[in-house]
Symmetry: C2
Subunit: 484 residues, 2 copies
């Protein structure tokens, strides 16, 4: 599949990064003199975020290929994402250029936040394959994309967008600014009034959002939240109870504030006071680390944006099973995110076992003891673990786990993992004893022949000496050594 | 300090739960026949959420004391929270009753989402101590509270609200619906239009929020997010670039949709299709588990609502150091939240080490090796760990860790933890070797006399035999056992 991106600003760069990090080459055209720098910065941010976001091994990134013309970029393309500035005449010109050079069946998707497909399609050849695919910043992290235009083209676009980890929402009837930006603009207009009238500063408004309903909206939207507020009586009760009260102030919120110089100055200086301690680059990293943490929290509950992430990871794990591997096995990698650090600034103790446990899972998937096998009523439980901490691990380190099969018998698997740093040195080791169990019967049970044979094949590769710490216990020191 | 709550619906119940779980007795008056049931349900939800939210030991909960009259509830009260239905005549009557019976200095805070302090104060004695303290649902979890009314009373209220883990935002000038609900009503009105016009369903709108800008708003608000979008050029650049575009559709968003029967039916049936698979009770638990996970993610980054949580926990840990303790020590408890479960439905492997590691931290704080000591350039690092998994741990289990000091010498501490379930049985044990280090010099260094003496005192209590698995290693099984 050939992917092309026309326009490489923050939004175009976000699209490019999302496609590249999902393994696609992307052909890019943007005549802006700063385009390469901007796309490079977005791609660097996105790589950093993906290292933290994904526990499954990511595919080899695709290539970023700069084209000299629109035609160069889109010739032979299957999917073209247009992210040029928000001017209809410019969009018409660019879309005409794309349509002239791309195959008739190529999807032409616009990142426009304001224009409708009917506007974009004016005078176009094969207008039906021209769609709105409107994402939200940061495009490489936020899953949602509004797909407007309908038909077979929208179905094809949704399939491609889902495969790169997005959550397409198709919009039934086109409307100015689609859906998300309608909501955002309503809030924006209201917030401008609050600042202009001196009711609240930008920081106070932001705090009310992020310590309040923003926390709700990361996981449930407006209607589901209000459904809960209505209690067992449900949505009708909520509407009957709160509808009139919500209506009272509406009639006072109708005017549009002038975004004049005085208001711009007020907002800019309040924003400096609020956020000026951090550079934009720092704020981007803070934002992305927070988003990654929220994704992980929601993934643990298999809900919302976390469910989308889990589905993307399951696709990656399924792919990974087929990958070849040397010995000792290298089946799991991890990047040390900010949330993994303790008060000493090092990777916190239990994250070591998280890395080892994820490496054990990867080993189990590797031998055929994955989700399908577990669904049949069997699993392998860790019954004992011995960890040696050999070095402090700091923020952002890229870790690789090297796994040995120390032994196995009819019901048990004995593994040894080593966490390797980028320079190849060991930061920690773990020895684990696993027991094969029937989860239905709740007791240990013999491994089936297929898994035993997979273990035998791996054991046959384990020709070297075992680490001499294997099997050892913790040294006995007792109070009397100092007390007597 | 005496706390009174007048009105015990979902909002009043949320206030009551927050005060009780922070250790305050609460005197409640509500004549509604269902009040005790509703408050009980909110309190049950809140207890469940706090078990998951706090890793620090919570204080003993306060008592819920039902009063027969407003006067009974507020006599001698320091802080009164009024959460009666949203009718000004009713609020006036209740506030007059409170003012007549409560001390002159008692703070009278209203949960009103719409009325201004000047309206609430009409005809009141000592009007300055009447404030708006408007929270967001669920009150026991969301930190933000809008405090309107100003002066010395607002300062006192903010101190009390901060101490129960809230984030008060004082509103400079009073305005209908304060700040948060102005923003929410703008979104609500816009969303009603989108549903009424058949542009999007309730589920599609919710998905665009929770897979999109809702994720942003859980950690940064409107202005900080847009500041980033403006790039290095900052807020003025953003306003100059996007201001005009944002203004285009505004003039089309002015009308208020009628919340007539047809629209109510549409919303209710779409909401059933979207969320009807879960009961309201289930949705509350899902929401709270997600919020707890988001709090933990933000706490790990020391940002936003997670920072508020960390500050509350630090207050709890500081309190806990003074608490007496028997032997074996019981310094750490944990509740198994939904995010702690693996695909087998049991507590996932690395969470065991999280519990053990947190118990080690609690032990270190207990002997005097806490934050202040670490800030002086010293710490204790775990160098070796041996875990034995003895039983599966399921969702919602309450765990207690029993800690023994197996030994110590000039630089080392050897600990043994057992995770006990509610029935007292052991679910897992861990043996740890810790090394005392100078973090400035990056190497092991002798423990100071004060810490050694604290360890000697604990060692003197360790009269019983040590667990016989202490010091043992993992049993040696090798491939040949099956392969030859």
């Amino acid at each position: 599949m050939k992917i092309a991106a026309i326009g490489g600003g923050v939004i175009g760069g976000g699209w490019i990064a999302r496609f590249i990090l999902n393994g696609h080459d992307v052909h890019v055209f943007d005549p802006h003199p700063e385009a390469a720098r901007i796309v490079g910065e977005v791609l660097a941010n996105a790589s950093r975020a993906y290292d933290r976001l994904f526990q499954a091994p990511l595919p080899e990134p695709g290539r970023l290929i700069w084209a000299k013309t629109v035609a160069d970029a889109v010739t032979g393309a299957d999917f073209v994402q247009e992210s040029v500035p928000e001017r209809l005449d410019l969009k018409h010109r660019v879309i005409a250029e794309i349509a002239a050079a791309a195959p008739e069946t190529a999807l032409i998707c616009s990142s426009t936040s304001g224009f409708k497909p009917s506007e974009l399609r004016q005078g176009a050849r094969h207008p039906d394959r021209i769609l709105v695919a409107h994402p939200f910043n940061p495009v490489y992290l936020l899953p949602v994309v509004e797909v407007v235009g309908g038909g077979e083209a929208a179905d094809r676009a949704c399939a491609i967008l889902t495969a790169i980890g997005m959550k397409p929402v198709t919009v039934a009837r086109e409307i100015d600014a689609h859906i998300g930006d309608r909501l955002l603009e309503a809030v924006w207009r209201e917030a401008l009034w609050l600042v202009k009238d001196g009711i609240a500063t930008t920081e106070e408004i932001d705090d009310i959002i992020r310590f309040g309903f923003g926390l709700r909206w990361a996981q449930m939207g407006l209607f589901e939240t209000y459904r809960i507020a209505g209690g067992e009586a449900g949505m009708k009760h909520f509407l009957a109870q709160f509808g009139p009260a919500l209506k009272w102030p509406w009639t006072k919120l109708m005017d549009v504030p002038d975004l004049d110089d005085a208001l711009i100055d007020t907002i800019a200086s309040q924003s400096d006071a609020q956020s000026g301690a951090h550079s934009i680059r720092e704020l981007e990293c803070i934002r992305d680390d927070n988003l990654v943490g929220i994704f992980h929290a929601l993934k643990a509950n298999d809900w919302g944006a976390g469910k989308t992430l889990r589905e993307a990871e399951n696709r990656l794990y399924a792919r990974q099973v087929e990958a070849p591997s040397g010995y000792p096995l290298r089946l799991h990698r991890a990047r040390v995110g900010g949330s993994w650090l303790d008060y000493n600034g090092h990777m916190t103790e239990f994250r070591y076992l998280q890395v080892f446990g994820d490496a054990t899972d990867a080993f189990l998937i590797h031998i055929g003891l994955g989700e399908a096998y577990r669904n049949a009523g069997f699993s392998a439980y860790t019954v004992e673990t011995h960890i040696r901490h050999l070095a402090e691990i700091g923020a952002n380190e890229q870790l690789m786990v090297e796994t040995r099969l120390l032994g196995h018998d009819a019901k048990r698997i004995r593994l040894h993992h080593a966490i390797l740093r980028e320079d190849g040195t060991e930061a920690a080791t773990a020895e684990h004893m696993l027991m094969h169990v029937s989860t239905d019967q709740g007791r240990a049970t013999p491994l089936p022949d297929g898994l035993l044979q997979a273990l035998d094949r791996i054991a046959a590769q384990d020709a070297g000496a075992h680490p001499d710490h294997a099997g050892r216990g913790i040294r006995d020191i007792r109070p009397r050594e100092v007390a007597t």
